[in-house]
């Protein structure tokens, strides 16, 4: 269990504000801080890691106090068990993949398991300069996990990758998280990514947490009435006559929806969409 209840004065686009952050994350959970840049997401990561000191409050991880203003407790950065993955993979350029991971590991016998888990077995003797962006992020993830962190902090980890690679690494991260159960916080401004990975979202704006809930609760449009609403992901957009056919994945199913030009105009592959119809339209048949 992670409990953060801190106050920190930060500079935002609309001036200085006292950011009051109250975040609770269950052990093994995957939560996301979502919001525009400058909303204060990265500041929360830095407060957790001990890189920035709060003005007041308490940070407790699995019952251990990392920070407590009143009782003058401030565990130093190197004693806080945080694993980090940033957008720019900070790997040691002179070390091989294996050495990079080994260097950070607390248990050398896990290194090969981690290399396999991130699919880098074949490339374990290469140096970072000879790896693609996606491969480097795999190594960065394995290295962060090798330290057996109490909490894994991911700050826009896939933002610099192309859409396909981002998609692949998101899927792999999901599998790894399910397997290892490391409590994870993801900073992201990508709704699709948050939907895919997080089970709890803190939406932030100008240093204030504006919404807390599951991705569905936080992102689903509640401005339209109706009892037949789902969120789906756009797999394909095809022109058909003077209309468009959208192929959508909804839950584990794939379906098709006819859209007009004005609807299809601002929809691209990978977008999250609200699919709704009047409750009068669907027909049901026993199966």
């Amino acid at each position: 269990m992670i409990e953060i209840d801190v106050v920190k004065r930060i500079k935002t686009a609309s001036g200085e504000v006292d950011m009051h952050v109250k975040v609770d994350i269950e052990k093994g959970g995957f939560c996301s801080l979502f919001g525009k840049s400058g909303a204060g997401k990265t500041t929360i990561m830095r407060l957790l890691a001990g890189l920035t000191e709060p003005d007041d409050g308490v940070i407790r991880i699995d019952g251990k106090t990392w920070y407590d203003k009143k009782n003058k407790i401030n565990v130093p950065v190197n004693k806080r068990k945080c694993g980090f993955v940033f957008q720019d993979y900070a790997l040691f350029p002179n070390m091989t993949v294996r050495r990079n991971i080994e260097y950070a590991s607390v248990n050398k016998s896990n290194v090969d398991m981690l290399i396999d888990m991130v699919g880098m077995h074949e490339l374990k003797d290469r140096k970072p300069a000879n790896l693609s962006g996606g491969q480097r992020q795999r190594v960065a993830l394995a290295r962060a996990l090798a330290a057996e962190p109490a909490i894994l902090l991911l700050d826009e980890p896939f933002a610099a990758l192309d859409a396909d690679m981002r998609d692949t690494l998101q899927n792999e991260l999901k599998i790894i998280h399910n397997k290892l159960g490391v409590t994870t916080i993801l900073v992201s401004h990508d709704k699709g990514e948050v939907f895919k990975l997080a089970n709890k979202v803190y939406a932030m704006d100008d240093g204030v947490i504006t919404k807390i809930g599951t991705p569905e609760e936080v992102f689903t449009d509640s401005t339209i009435s109706g009892k037949f609403k789902f969120t789906g992901r756009v797999l394909k957009v095809e022109r058909a006559d003077c209309l468009y056919v959208l192929t959508l994945s909804i839950g584990t199913e794939v379906g098709h929806v006819v859209a007009t030009h004005s609807e299809a105009r601002d929809i691209s592959i990978g977008d999250r969409v609200l699919v709704y119809t009047k409750a009068f339209n669907p027909s049901v048949k026993k199966i």
Binding site: S225, G226, K227, D241, C242, L243, Y276, K278, F280
Partner: protein, 133 residues
């Protein structure tokens, strides 16, 4: 999706079904929805909201309309047409714009062209309501 501004005149409920009487740019609109009035904070008499309905559910008629069960009738004029092999998309105006998608076969049978006066018809159960932001 057609999205038009409308004003709530009144509404009544039967179980979970709500019948809303609305007015949109001078046209009377009836919408039947399945929802809980308590959850729709914008459903109040006199309130402005959006009515939403799919373009492919807008029926087009010309000339005199005989006896029809349809309540929602918009006297409109065609302002633009996009003809496909199978479907034709019509931009129509009755004080505000909406779109209707009908078969090209029907558009030709009715002799539709830009400027033609038509009546657009929408079934009450095809109209959803939404908050106006």
């Amino acid at each position: 999706m057609n999205q038009l501004e409308a004003k709530v005149l009144h509404y009544r409920t039967s179980g979970q079904i709500i019948l809303c009487e609305l007015e949109s740019f001078g046209a009377q609109v009836t919408a039947v929805i399945l929802d809980s009035p308590g959850e729709l904070e914008y459903l109040k008499e006199g309130n402005a909201l959006n009515i939403l309905f799919k373009e492919t559910e807008v029926i087009i008629a010309t000339g005199e309309i005989g006896q029809l069960s349809l309540n929602n009738r918009f006297r409109a004029k065609i302002t633009a047409m996009e003809k496909g092999d199978i479907f034709t998309s019509l931009a129509i105006d009755f004080g505000t714009g909406m779109t209707s998608v009908i078969t090209t076969k029907s558009a030709e049978r009715l002799g539709l062209a830009v400027g033609t006066e038509v009546t657009a018809l929408v079934k009450a159960n095809e109209i959803a309501i939404g908050r106006r932001d």
